[in-house]
């Protein structure tokens, strides 16, 4: 019934997304990105998208797949290295990019999820990031006023979720995911493991189901590692 948020797969989850909308996507680098939904978006003819995500994927994985197909009109991110096609589209003017501090990105998500229209942060004060922004002093320190995001969709990746949309995340794959889950008008969660209600401990839910509208168990997670760094055993 009404509380069962389960959809079949990524295609069903994104079925009503239209060209030109704003989508937030969880993940930090390639860690914790909603692979299934990104692949599904890349298989559509959607374009003119505004994407809010900390990074923009790599050339042939993650948001890089949408970039390659020119589906993204504007990217809002904090760091967009590691992507030659991104660079090309940016320099050619095919795509617009708005770079914002990582903490500002996170907190503007939190603000949306917590119904706070704006927040204050010192990040970027006195830099070109402050251009056009309201500056305000509190206790002798200067802050920028930054607005809550207003995103049509949030797409996140969780470790486990139940059919009512309660989510838990694993390790640093948490990152922006629970924040964006709270911030979308419609929130889509793909999970590695979909469990029945009652299986997750209510004390340790990261994202309560009230914030989640659609959920499905993803398949074939590649979980690519950007910087494999190891030490030798002694």
């Amino acid at each position: 019934m009404g509380l069962n948020k389960v959809v079949k797969n990524a295609e069903e989850a994104i079925h009503d997304i239209k060209s030109g909308v704003t989508i937030m996507l969880g993940g930090f680098g390639l860690c914790g990105i909603p692979e299934n939904c990104i692949n599904a978006l890349a298989a559509t003819d959607l374009n003119g998208l505004t994407c809010i995500s900390n990074n923009a994927g790599v050339d042939n994985f993650g948001l890089g797949l949408l970039l390659k197909k020119h589906q993204i009109k504007k990217m809002i991110a904090s760091y967009v290295g590691e992507n030659a096609e991104f660079e090309r589209q940016l320099l050619s003017g095919e795509m617009e990019v708005e770079l914002i501090p990582q903490g500002t990105l996170a907190t503007r998500c939190l603000a949306a999820g917590y119904g706070m229209p704006a927040i204050f942060t010192p990040a970027g004060y006195g830099t070109e990031c402050a251009e056009g922004k309201e500056v305000r002093e509190f206790n002798g320190k200067q802050y920028l006023m930054e607005y809550a995001f207003d995103a049509d969709y949030a797409i996140v990746k969780a470790w486990k979720g139940d059919t009512q949309g309660n989510l838990i995340f694993k390790d640093t794959a948490r990152n922006f995911n629970p924040l964006m889950a709270m911030a979308g008008k419609i929130t889509i969660a793909e999970v590695e493991e979909l469990v029945p209600v009652g299986e997750l401990d209510p004390n340790f839910i990261h994202t309560p189901g009230i914030y989640v509208h659609r959920i499905f168990q993803g398949t074939n997670y590649e979980k690519r590692i950007e910087q494999r760094t190891v030490r030798k055993r002694n």
Binding site: G81, Q102, G103, T121, Y125, K170, T172, N175, V230, R233
Partner: protein, 218 residues
């Protein structure tokens, strides 16, 4: 002889105090973790959402879900905690992280820092750097004293777009250690084999060599 990167990291490690929570940036700052003094317990924060960062994993034990802010595979230590990016930058803004160490392209003698953007070159973004420099109580910059062209990176005014204003408290370069105070760059230690004259020649910003300047112990 000027310090190498490891020696810069070793010198910065001496700034660590028992019980500190510390955020180490990419590059030389990351090396600091290898030289934490005996008897000192610190917790490393990674701004993608982790306190208690441990060493790199053993080969074959990498976990794609466990990376640091440089996107490297890492491990956690007992006592670690995972949180979302809002809490991560929340604790940074609230001044709970005692020390931030990061690299820079330029530092000005008033504490301004530039380390994210070179005009006409591709901009990759500021990541968490603007949040860190605007919020940290104590910021140490680790960098070479001069750029590859031999020009001073310690300036009167940064020429590159700023990352933050008036925030750097200390700079450790291959040539010495500099507090940033009312004197500008206030040199308190000189690297072995380096002369005060060399530092003067290679520092474009206001510089004062402390009367009691020490030769750095490496």
């Amino acid at each position: 002889m000027a310090l190498d990167k490891v020696q810069i990291a070793q010198r910065i490690a001496k700034e660590l105090q028992d019980g500190f929570y510390v955020n180490l940036g990419i590059g030389i700052p990351t090396l600091v973790a290898n030289y934490i003094p005996e008897g000192i317990d610190v917790v490393l924060q990674s701004e993608n959402g982790l306190l208690g960062m441990g060493p790199f994993p053993y080969e074959g034990e990498e976990d794609a879900d466990l990376i640091n802010a440089g996107k490297q595979t890492i491990t956690t230590l007992p006592g670690s905690a995972i949180f979302d990016s809002a809490m991560s930058f929340g604790m940074i803004r609230a001044g709970k992280v005692h020390l931030t160490v990061l690299g820079a392209m330029e530092v000005a003698d008033n504490g301004d820092i530039a380390n994210w953007k070179i005009p006409k070159k591709l901009v990759k973004g500021m990541g968490g750097a603007m949040d860190l420099v605007a919020s940290a109580k104590n910021i140490i910059v680790a960098m070479q004293h001069t750029n590859p062209k031999g020009e001073s990176k310690l300036l009167s005014n940064c020429t590159l777009p700023l990352t933050g204003v008036g925030c750097v408290k200390k700079v450790v370069t291959d040539l010495g250690v500099f507090d940033i105070n009312e004197h500008g760059f206030y040199c308190i230690e000189i690297a072995p084999g380096v002369t005060a004259d060399e530092i003067k020649a290679k520092t474009a910003g206001r510089l004062v060599i402390a009367d009691d300047v020490k030769k750095m112990v490496v």
